[in-house]
Every structure is written in C-alpha cells, then in structure tokens.
C-alpha cells in the first residue's frame, strides 16, 4: 500500500535512521549547539572537533526525532568531515536546495551520499526534519549555542 513511499523511506534512510553510525556525544569537542524544531518537537545536538587548520576533524550528534532527521544527521557527519566553516556553509546551501527541490545540480562529491534524501522535497513539512541537524551544525560553527528550524 505504501510502495511509493519507498522513495522517501529507502534502504539508506531506514538503515541510517535506525542504526546511525555517528550518533554519539564527542567527549573532546570545540563547539556544540542544539537545534529545535518547535513545530514538531524534534531536537538535535551536534558536537564538533576542529583540526589544527580549523577544518572539521570530527562531528557527533544526538537526536530525538524521526528516521529522516537521524539519517540526515548521520549522513551530514560524513559529508562535512575535513571541511572549513565556509565550505560547510556551501554544502548546507546545496543540501537545502536538494531537500527543497530534489535537485542537486553539479552535485558535489560529498553531497552524493545525501541523494537518498532527495524525495523529502515531496513532503514539505518534513523538509525541516532533514535540515535541522545542519542548522545545529552551522550554529555550532558560528559559536551560537542554539537554533531553531521554524
């Protein structure tokens, strides 16, 4: 009955949503921020450790929310490894476009693993589930303690 929903709930999302690989608090971190989606109660916290050159060495997260937000957070961690704050922001912009439109024009290599989230654009109220961890990550990089995705 829900076969068309496999678009959204594909194998990657289900796997990453249920058994995220990076869902852990970093003991040793340089920045952290929380993100709230006040409309539905999703919440995520992100921890970041920088390398000597200021790029992201490691990211961990804790999430309370649906499969989509957990999967998005988990894939994000891998995508941003080694990136500077600036290029992370650029990745987020591209990811947001992907989540909102399903398009990833001239898709950066790092974003390709995110393509399983493309179908979320057909579910407008779920787009924020996918972008919430990114909002929290950006808030951490900018030294803000908390953010919301309303």
């Amino acid at each position: 009955m829900f076969e068309d929903l496999r678009d959204l709930y594909n194998a990657t999302i289900i796997e990453r949503g249920r058994r995220p690989r990076h869902m852990r608090r970093l003991e040793d971190f340089d920045a952290t921020a929380k993100g709230d989606n006040p409309m539905c109660g999703d919440r995520v916290q992100v921890w970041v450790k920088y390398a000597g050159d200021g790029t992201i060495a490691a990211t961990g997260f804790d999430a309370r929310g649906c499969e989509i937000s957990k999967a998005a957070a988990d894939l994000m961690v891998e995508a941003v490894a080694g990136h500077s704050a600036t290029s992370t922001r650029r990745l987020f912009a591209a990811f947001r476009t992907l989540a909102q439109t399903g398009e990833c024009a001239e898709c950066a290599e790092e974003l390709k693993p995110m393509l399983p989230l493309a179908a979320v654009h057909e579910y407008p109220s779920r787009v924020k589930c996918a972008t919430l961890p990114w909002h929290a990550l950006i808030a951490a990089l900018e030294g803000e303690g908390a953010t919301t995705s309303e």
Binding site: F2, D4, L5, I14, R126
Partner: protein
C-alpha cells in the same frame, strides 16, 4: 473487538453532509480527518453565518447609530448570550471575547496575576497542561515573583488528587490553572473536586476548557469555576474568536490589560476611566464576523445536544481503544477512566512523524509530535506520540480505516 454501540439519536450521515470539506479527496483518497482536537471542521451553518454577516449587514459595532451597525452589534452581542447559555454563566457580562484560549489565559495571567496576586503566592498547574497553560504562568513567575507548582499525574494519566491537595498545605496558593481535559491523553480532570479543594484553601481556579467544552456539557455555576476559557475553532466555530468566562466580581476587581478603543469610559491625557465589564477587557475592533460565526457554532452544537455528542464520542473512543490496542507493537498512551475523544499512541519501530506521513498518504489526517505539551511528554518518557482525535462527524468506519492502515504502517517499517 467490542461491538460499539453508536447512539441512534445521531444521524451521522446527515451531520457529515453539513461539512463541505468532508467531500474533499486527498491524493485521490477520501479524507479521514482525525485531527479535530487541533481544530475542528466548520459546518455550513457557521460558514453561512459569516458570509451572511459580510453580505447583508456588515459594519463596525458598538459605536454606530446606523442600521448596519445596529444589526451587526445585535448579532455580535447575541453571541455573548449564547456563550453564557453554553457555559451556564449567570450573567452575560461575565463573557469576555478573546482570540483563543491562549489569549484568555494570558489575560488572566496579566490582569489577575500581576494585578491581584502578590509576589510569593503560588500558581498550581498540572503535569498535563498544554503550553498555553504553562508559559503564561512561567512568565508571571519571572516577572512578578509568584511561584509555579505542578500537580503530578499517575501513570494512567489522571491527576494525583492527594498530591494536588498537598500543594495547598503552606497556604500560598492563590490560583489554580488546570486543564479540564487533556489534549494528549484525553483524560478529564475532576473539575468539581479540584475547585472544592482550591476554594477550601482560598485559591481561585481557572479551567482550560479548550478540549472539554467540545465533548461535554460544561456548567460553570455548578462547578463554581472562577475562570473558564475555550477557543472557537475547536468548537466547530471560526478561528480568531474565543471566550473567557470570569466571575463578575473578579472581572470587576481586575485592572484592564490592553488599552484602546471600546474599553474606555472617558479619556483625557491625565487619566482614563474604564468601561464596564466585559468591555473593559475588549480593546479595539473585535473579531465581529468571527463572533457571529461562533454564535452559529454554539447553536449548532446545542441543536445536536451534548448528550448525543458525548455518547457518540464515547462509543468512538471505545471502538478506537479496542481496535488500536489489538495492533501488535502499538501502545495507547493514557488510560484514564474518564476520557474524551482523543487517543494518543506510539508504534514500535516507527517515529510518530513517520506514522503521520504514511497515514497522510492514505488520506488520514492525524497529529504527531509533542502536541504543545513537552513537559507531559517528558513525564511520560516519550519524545512524541501520534494522536487521533474525533469530532461529531467522525464515524466508526473511519476508525477502522485508521486501524487497518496502521497495521500496514507497521509492516512498512518492519
């Protein structure tokens, strides 16, 4: 599965025919609207009343000496009588129009809270309040130095009456603000006892009737409630209009909250004097068209009658509880004895949002999340629930569709 006994007094098909929206298809499927606790659909009578007001007699009210203004004033003020009748208030001046329950509670928190309560006094809420009945009291606490106390609930989702009563021991409680029916658990609270205990300790009581008044006859005089709020849009009425009932002597003692046109008796720069209650609390041009729509909603509900409504919804709820409980991996949240037409649940291996998205694809509208009751979720050890809620137009067949579809949702996430 129990055979539900649906009330023969209600001709649901005829009722459904009065709701134009129920003919809509969602993605090609019949709409199964199980989100009435968030906001109810509007019957033709309400829509027609609003359209009629705009097409045949509209003008600003209270200050006009011309025909349109007189007619519109009459129609709007008739809603005050209707609301007084609905709640069995003794006096139409005890009905204050507000935007929604939230504004009604904020009005009391500002005007009674800051104006009459003293720093050091305490406000008692319960562990199953909507944010609208938590945050205003927090803001009062932080601005005015009152204390905020929370009456606990038991695991069934009922107020713990012994613990509630114990909160009064030090004599500091000035006000109790408690829901009359939980929007998450469906539990009714024992309003009469709550009020008796509070009054015995010299405290006033505000009941949040946002949910209760939709499902059950409310009698503020029999309850001896000091304040009672409800919101039009959940009672099959328009958005933008709600009601605060307050005992007249309390309203008279309270300072006004918002200033402006319509709430004054006279204005000079040095000093203004206030209009009588309820106008003292109604600054600016009110929600005129919505007030007129609310009158139609109240008359419509009265036309069906609370006994029939309550019986229908009780049968629906029993049916839902029995069908949903039979689903493997599904947990119904809240097992209160006395409950209204709201059922929250969780499902193994599926987050509430994901459930809602799948149900939506099948044309079924439910709510998912914390339902504006985060502290209650915390108490229950949950992040979120899915919630099905019923209106007069809900049928047992729709509940069967829900249950059958939930079984498929569960398979999908297997």
């Amino acid at each position: 599965m129990n055979a539900p006994s649906f009330d023969a007094r209600l001709d649901i098909a005829a009722i459904r025919a009065q709701f134009p929206i129920l003919e809509q298809k969602i993605r090609g499927k019949d709409l199964v609207f199980l989100d009435s606790a968030a906001s109810a659909q509007k019957p033709r009578a309400v829509i027609d009343a609003m359209v009629g007001a705009m097409e045949t007699q509209y003008a600003n009210i209270h200050r006009g000496l011309h025909w349109m203004s007189e007619r519109t004033t009459e129609a709007y003020e008739a809603t005050r009588d209707a609301a007084a009748r609905l709640l069995n208030a003794g006096d139409r001046h005890e009905i204050v129009f507000v935007r929604n329950s939230t504004e009604g509670i904020n009005l009391v928190a500002h005007s009674y809270g800051r104006g009459i309560m003293k720093p050091g006094q305490a406000v008692v809420i319960s562990a199953m309040e909507h944010h609208s009945n938590i945050v205003p009291w927090q803001m009062l606490r932080d601005a005015h130095g009152t204390e905020l106390r929370v009456a606990p609930i038991n695991d069934a989702g009922e107020l713990d009456m012994a613990a509630y009563e114990a909160l009064f021991a030090d004599g500091k409680v000035g006000l109790v603000a408690i829901t009359h029916m939980s929007n998450v658990l469906g539990s009714y609270t024992p309003a009469e006892r709550i009020i008796q205990i509070a009054h015995a300790h010299g405290a006033k009581v505000l009941l949040d009737g946002s949910q209760a008044v939709v499902h059950r006859r409310v009698d503020v005089r029999a309850l001896d409630a000091d304040f009672y709020v409800f919101t039009g849009h959940k009672l099959y009425g328009p958005t933008g209009i709600g009601v605060l009932y307050g005992k007249r002597e309390l309203l008279e003692a309270m300072p006004p909250w918002m200033g402006g046109g319509d709430m004054i008796s006279s204005v000079t720069y040095e000093r203004s004097t206030w209009a009588r209650v309820p106008h003292k609390f109604e600054a600016g041009t009110p929600a005129i068209i919505e007030g007129i729509g609310l009158n139609a909603a109240i008359e419509w509900v009265e036309g069906i009658g609370y006994p029939a409504i309550a019986a229908h919804e009780a049968a629906l709820t029993d049916h839902a509880l029995s069908r949903l409980s039979a689903i493997e991996g599904l947990t119904v949240i809240g097992r209160a004895q006395d409950r209204g037409g709201v059922v929250s649940f969780t499902l193994d291996r599926a987050h509430a949002h994901d459930i809602a998205t799948l149900l939506d694809r099948a044309g079924i509208a439910v709510r998912a999340g914390h339902h504006c009751a985060e502290p209650l979720m915390h108490r229950l050890g949950l992040e979120s629930t899915a919630r099905a809620s019923f209106g007069i137009y809900t049928t047992p067949g729709e509940i069967d569709v829900l249950a059958d579809t939930l079984i498929k949702v569960r398979e999908f996430f297997q």
